[in-house]
């Protein structure tokens, strides 16, 4: 009988040793997501999905391990309404909730970074490429995984100037347009002969025909339009209505589903529209990104653009913004693990030292001199045809990149 007890006790010990993890639960770790749910729902939703996909993967894999404890990552969603004032409120709420980091589209960061910095809490921007938003010296807690306006502007100068075009530099009067305009002006300042005119467009205008007519009369042979998606749609509408087939170049906003939705009745007006973005695939090929996309779509469904190709196929948007948010969640987790603590100052310092493999197969990380997770070299150009886009063939980097499937 005594022997049986000993054997049973041994078995019980063995079974307890075979458990999933011997680590004690440390509770929840909050990651705040502050995005314009009501101002720009597509942007907000895809960012939230990106963070959620990463955190659910980490949680199901045993959670975030810090020392001897395992933590559950929890997302707290805030809606900034595209308003800096609301973003400040959200920041205060997030800090009260004990958030270890804030993922944002970039709204209100000029006002929120100081509040977060008082507690050494990192902010990561995954949409806005504004040059002043990230400044390692002045804003040590602000990071970004998204192409920068500066990088896009200089890549456009590098791409367009050798073509010998006379470029009309247009921007709308939104904050986004004005910030981009400053970078574009700097990038083209060495080659003023390439510039036919500079013009500000009213962001709320529903008819830009007079402005586009003026651009045409200036002798412009190409338009570089740094503006929000509605303005880009209006520029295309005005130009094509005038019968002007001028090539139009844009920042990443040109790929926003809104542009295609607005021009759904005139698909040919979208043809030829070229936008700059950050490459979605690494040298290793499309496999890592496609795997991420498939994981994303199986969890949340494909992001449908709401238009179809000439063959009637549904067009979907590759989850680019979600990828940035997803990657940041992984970099943050690596930093928390490296810091070995939830101490925000230690986590902030560790964010400068860690690297993870991004969803597209590229290495993702920050460093002490650059809090940018997307290098300027990674900016590529893609051109629309039949409501989907493919990398251009007349740029060295873009020509090496494969097209991402965008129909279902």
């Amino acid at each position: 009988m005594r022997r049986t007890v000993v054997v049973l006790a041994g078995l019980a010990l063995l079974v307890s040793g075979c458990g999933k993890s011997g680590r004690a639960s440390g509770g929840d770790v909050v990651v705040a997501v502050d995005v314009p749910v009501t101002g720009s729902p597509y942007v907000a939703e895809t960012i939230r999905h990106g963070v959620a996909l990463a955190t659910s993967g980490i949680n199901s894999g045993g959670g975030l391990i810090i020392g001897t404890h395992s933590y559950h990552l929890r997302i707290k969603l805030y809606d900034n309404h595209l308003s800096a004032r609301k973003a400040v409120e959200d920041m205060r709420s997030a800090l009260s909730a004990g958030a270890v980091a804030i993922v944002t589209d970039g709204t209100g960061v000029d006002a929120t970074w100081q509040i977060a910095n008082q507690k050494h809490v990192p902010i990561c921007i995954v949409y806005d490429g504004g040059s002043g938003l990230v400044d390692v010296a002045k804003r040590p807690n602000v990071f970004r995984i998204a192409p920068t306006n500066h990088g896009i502007a200089f890549r456009y100068a590098e791409y367009l100037i050798p073509k010998g075009l006379k470029i009309g530099l247009l921007h709308d009067d939104s904050a986004y347009g004005q910030e981009g305009s400053a970078d574009i002006n700097r990038a083209f300042s060495q080659n003023p002969r390439s510039v036919a005119l500079r013009m500000t467009l009213p962001a709320e205008a529903t008819d830009l025909s007079p402005q586009i007519l003026r651009a045409r009369r200036s002798g412009a042979t190409a338009l570089l339009v740094w503006a929000q998606p509605p303005t880009i749609a209006e520029v295309l509408t005005a130009a094509r209505s005038l019968g002007w087939s001028v090539p139009v170049y844009t920042p990443p906003t040109g790929a926003d589903p809104f542009v295609r939705q607005r021009l759904a009745d005139h698909p040919s007006w979208v043809d030829g529209l070229t936008f700059a973005g950050s490459r979605l695939t690494a040298e290793v090929g499309t496999a890592p990104f496609e795997s991420f996309q498939s994981q994303y779509e199986s969890t949340y469904g494909a992001d449908k653009v709401g238009v179809r190709t000439a063959e009637g196929k549904q067009v979907v948007q590759p989850p680019e913004l979600a990828m940035y948010a997803y990657d940041f969640a992984h970099v943050l987790t690596a930093a928390l693990t490296r810091a070995g603590s939830l101490d925000p100052a230690k986590v902030l310092s560790a964010l400068n030292q860690v690297t993870t493999q991004g969803a597209n197969g590229d290495e993702r990380g920050f460093n002490q001199h650059s809090h940018e997770g997307v290098v300027d070299d990674d900016v590529y150009f893609a051109r629309f045809h039949d409501m989907t886009y493919a990398p251009v063939k007349d740029d060295p980097l873009s020509s090496t990149l494969p097209a991402i499937p965008q129909t279902r």
């Binding site: 040298e283 030292q353 690297t355 290495e363 001199h369 300027d376 070299d377 990674d378 090496t400």
Partner: protein, 381 residues
């Protein structure tokens, strides 16, 4: 006479047979790697992240190490302007380790360098050719140990004397054994060609007949070309241009008469082995061994030592590592007298260390006093 001839022929045949009967070994000769010591290139304290470079890419490294020396010739600041030329089209993600304090973009760079603890990072895309240039500030106390020169500046009466010494010397063991003269001639010619062309040695071997011994220690140094000037205020500078090593002295002195604080400015770069590889009385070693009797043992030692010197010189061509192991690396070391202004961080570290020691001493003394006091109190209680 006939008998003598027969005996001679027999002896030759026997010697040839004996040689043929001895085992032959192909022994790999020094070069291009491994280097004779672990550093340079400098290494840091952190593990480097995964480095990625498209196979089509090649990276050449061109470095200028700027060494600020104090009034006695001791290094007080070291930085390295590294210029990487990426050739080919494709992605790269490079990490260069070292005792790195800070990095800044240098003139002409087409990308911005990243910094992590003891790491310089580059990532991006090369459209065919790309220049990546950075000024890398390194921790002097670590980097100074791996500089190829030691300088000493001193005043002696009405003169200022500069002593420049080759600091690349390192002991190495030599192989000894029997290698046939024609093979030695060919190998020496190959080595000489590589040295004169300024290209890295290619891997090769020698066929040893019989046993191979590795019992002799020799001192190996990189030949260095040193050019510069020593100057006193109001005096014409004394210029110099010397080779250290390659069969010449490993140090030299320069003096200048006058008063005031001497200032030195010189450049040193790894040089070719020329003198020790010059064939005696012939245009090539192959011809030299045919023309006159040369000692195979001496030639083998010459072959080994000159190859090691070239390996040592190649090692000092990369003060910071070249991320492309097969890339062409060049480094110039520039020494210049500077006003001594210790780096704030270095001062802080030093002071910090001193404070720690002082703190420990105070704690120990305090503890002893407290224990002693307690003991006295207990004894009187």
């Amino acid at each position: 006479m006939r008998r003598l001839f027969a005996v001679g022929v027999s002896a030759l045949v026997w010697a040839a047979a004996a040689a043929a009967a001895q085992p032959h070994q192909q022994v790999v000769l020094p070069g291009p790697v491994p280097y004779l010591t672990p550093n340079p290139p400098l290494i840091g304290t952190t593990a480097l992240p995964q480095v990625y470079m498209t196979v089509r890419l090649h990276v050449a490294s061109d470095q200028r190490v700027l060494v600020g020396v104090d009034g006695e010739g001791r290094p007080v600041q070291v930085s390295d302007r590294q210029r990487l030329i990426v050739r080919g089209k494709g992605d790269y993600q490079l990490a260069i380790g070292g005792p790195i304090r800070d990095v800044h973009p240098a003139a002409g760079t087409q990308s911005s360098p990243g910094l992590r603890t003891d790491q310089l990072l580059w990532a991006g895309f090369s459209p065919g050719r790309k220049v990546l240039a950075a000024d890398v500030i390194v921790r002097t106390e670590v980097a100074a140990k791996y500089l190829p020169l030691r300088l000493r500046l001193k005043r002696d009466g009405g003169r200022a004397i500069l002593t420049v010494a080759n600091a690349t010397q390192t002991p190495q063991r030599l192989y000894a054994g029997t290698v046939r003269l024609p093979e030695l001639g060919r190998l020496l010619d190959e080595t000489r060609r590589a040295s004169l062309a300024g290209v890295r040695l290619t891997g090769t071997y020698a066929t040893f007949i019989g046993s191979v011994r590795t019992n002799r220690l020799v001192t190996i140094s990189a030949p260095l070309r040193v050019q510069g000037e020593l100057r006193l205020p109001g005096q014409a500078p004394v210029r110099f241009d010397r080779i250290l090593g390659d069969g010449r002295p490993e140090s030299f002195q320069v003096s200048v008469r006058g008063s005031g604080t001497p200032a030195v400015h010189l450049e040193a770069k790894p040089a070719a082995v020329v003198r020790l590889l010059r064939p005696p009385g012939a245009s090539s070693w192959a011809e030299a061994v045919r023309r006159r009797p040369l000692s195979p043992a001496d030639l083998l030692e010459r072959l080994m030592t000159t190859r090691m010197q070239l390996v040592r010189a190649d090692q000092f061509q990369s003060f910071l590592s070249d991320p492309d192991a097969d890339g062409k690396s060049r480094t110039v070391y520039e020494f210049r007298t500077v006003a001594v202004r210790p780096h704030p961080a270095a001062t802080a570290t030093h002071t910090g260390g001193g404070s720690d020691v002082l703190l420990i001493v105070l704690l120990v003394v305090g503890s002893l006093a407290l224990a002693g006091g307690g003991l006295v109190a207990w004894a009187h209680s």
